[in-house]
């Protein structure tokens, strides 16, 4: 009976789980099926866990039950309480925990099978070369994912400067750490043959992987975060797949590979949207070579909320361009109020969404969905760009680089070649910004000097609220 369970039932259940993961992820790629897709993935996860418990049979459950309860509570509370504006850092944090878990599993296997048994053999001899090598890779990738995600979390949550932190000779240091970690890992599993040495090597590997993750992410600035988060997402999948190799468990390998692939696709989409390669994002911190593109602003016009309201009152088509500043000042609800007001007055309002606006893929879509802005009102870059020439007014809220014409005109600009929202074609462009300080990495925005551009200085939420109030007065008076 128990052999039937082990040889047929359990593998079949794992297979069903793997299929459900595929079906679930596929569901997540269409708006209509996304919710169901997520639920199917969750069911797949539950099935995988139940199957594993079946496979384990009667063991000591105290750590298992305690771990599930503690982790479940922390995860649930965090997920329910997090604000939508804090979503990028939440995703980064969860991602770090996933990567960390993979590293911990591999570490546990190493300690249990080799170090704690006190055998004087190499891990490769005890576990088999395959398992031993993948165990060290799992520790390395998982550790990098964990500490890298934590740094991303700290940057996104504003507990650490979002600016790139550039250490001297960091390329050499990073490559050195990577090569050193790989060598250390190979030594650990193939050469080290007494428990004491193995333990020290394992601890050193863990430390090296954590340092490597930090070194990888600290030079990356806020505007590149969508790429970094997607990439770390991919890495957490790879770490899980490595753990699958260690334990010879196919459901781990399959789901890890799926996550690795989906993360890579998002990474690719983000890179294309910035016209940069992944290597470029990691190895040349944005703004590193920037000395050009600076300079003083000349002939910049500014106005107050009342003038903006007057233009909006008579505008028949208005486009709002949201950016990270919208998220920071939590202005999504008042942006929606403004859109509704203009529509009530007979104008047409759409939101132009640049793929890398914000700090994670799809950031603006999530924020605006939270504010109940209809999905159809969000227009992608390629669709909206031809529309700007017959748009009366554009309101840029906390976006900068994604509307900078230097990307098209100045081949020396650090953002040269990045596809942008061509708002400069519109009748009047209002840019809501705290001050004239250049955006990320000190790239000067030529848009601000255009004749049809009006700067409105102040906090996005406050300014939008003032425009709403002014516009209400105008509409009433009319």
């Amino acid at each position: 009976m128990s052999s039937l369970l082990d040889s047929v039932v359990i593998p079949v259940l794992y297979l069903i789980s793997a299929v459900l993961f595929i079906v679930g992820l596929k569901g997540l790629t269409k708006v209509r099926t996304a919710k169901r897709g997520n639920l199917i993935s969750a069911v797949a996860m539950l099935l995988a866990v139940v199957t594993t418990l079946l496979e384990l049979g009667l063991v000591d459950y105290q750590w298992i039950v305690a771990g599930l309860v503690v982790g479940g509570l922390i995860g649930a509370i965090a997920a329910v309480r997090v604000q939508m504006t804090a979503m990028p850092q939440m995703v980064a944090l969860f991602n770090g925990f996933g990567g960390g878990a993979s590293a911990l599993v591999a570490g546990s296997v190493l300690w249990l099978a080799v170090i704690e048994r006190g055998v004087s053999e190499t891990p490769a001899a005890v576990l088999g070369t395959d398992s031993a090598v993948t165990a060290f890779l799992s520790i390395l990738v998982g550790g990098v994912t964990f500490s890298g995600s934590l740094v991303a979390y700290l940057k996104l949550a504003g507990r650490m400067s979002g600016q790139p932190i550039l250490l001297p000779a960091r390329h050499a240091v990073n490559v050195g750490f990577l090569v050193g970690s790989l060598a250390l890992g190979l030594y650990l599993v193939l050469q080290a043959a007494d428990p004491g040495t193995i333990e020290i090597a394992a601890l050193a590997l863990i430390a090296a992987s954590l340092v490597l993750g930090v070194l990888m992410v600290i030079p990356i600035g806020g505007a590149d975060m969508p790429v970094v988060i997607s990439f770390l997402n991919s890495l957490s999948g790879v770490a899980a797949a490595m753990t699958g190799f260690v334990l010879a468990n196919n459901v781990l390998i399959i789901s890890g590979a799926l996550v690795g692939a989906s993360g890579l696709i998002l990474t690719q989409i983000m890179c294309v949207a910035m016209n940069r390669s992944l290597g470029n994002v990691f190895f040349s911190a944005f703004g590193e070579e920037v000395s050009s593109g600076g300079g003083e602003y000349i002939g910049v016009r500014s106005c107050g909320p009342e003038e903006a309201a007057m233009v909006l009152e008579s505008a028949s088509s208005v486009v709002i361009v949201p950016g990270y500043g919208l998220a920071v000042s939590q202005a999504q609800h008042v942006a929606r109020d403004l859109a509704n007001l203009v529509e009530k007055n007979g104008g047409r309002v759409t939101f132009a969404i640049h793929p890398v606006a914000g700090r994670m893929p799809g950031h603006m879509n999530v924020l605006l969905a939270e504010a109940d802005v209809a999905y159809e009102k969000l227009v992608e870059m390629d669709q909206i760009n031809p529309e700007f020439s017959h748009t009366d007014a554009v309101i840029v809220v906390g976006a900068n680089d994604v509307v900078n014409p230097a990307a098209e005109r100045d081949p020396k600009s650090p953002i040269a070649g990045m596809p942008i929202l061509q708002v400069y074609n519109a009748g009047t462009v209002f840019v809501i910004k705290r001050s004239l300080s250049p955006g990320f990495a000190g790239v000067k925005n030529e848009l601000f000097e255009n004749e049809n551009t009006m700067m409105i200085y102040g906090d996005a939420k406050k300014v939008l609220q003032e425009i709403v109030n002014e516009l209400k007065g105008l509409v009433k008076a009319a």
Partner: protein, 96 residues
């Protein structure tokens, strides 16, 4: 064919399945896909359960316990957060 080779076959084919099913994705779903996939990467919980099966106080057991905590945070938090986001996307339509 040894287990490692079978594992590599499975891995490579699964990567291609992943590329195939996710090749086209509307921007609205970028965040939910990321956080949903992120929850799926918590599948390492399966490995964590194995790691914690002895329930003892040796380092291997403690690491296993921590792995379960970490992976469960990832799984439960990830799926819940994704669900919350997707519920927002559907909200407007249901009202009509």
């Amino acid at each position: 064919m040894g287990p490692l080779l079978i594992g590599i076959y499975v891995f490579v084919l699964a990567v291609f399945v992943g590329f195939e099913i996710i090749s086209k994705i509307p921007p609205t779903l970028h965040t939910p896909l990321m956080s949903g996939a992120n929850a799926v990467s918590g599948i390492t919980l399966v490995g964590a359960l194995f790691a914690a099966r002895n329930g003892d106080l040796r380092l291997s057991g403690v690491l296993g316990f921590l792995a379960i905590v970490f992976a469960t945070i990832n799984v439960v938090g990830g799926f819940l957060v994704t669900h919350r986001m997707l519920a927002m996307f559907g909200r407007k339509k249901e009202k009509r």
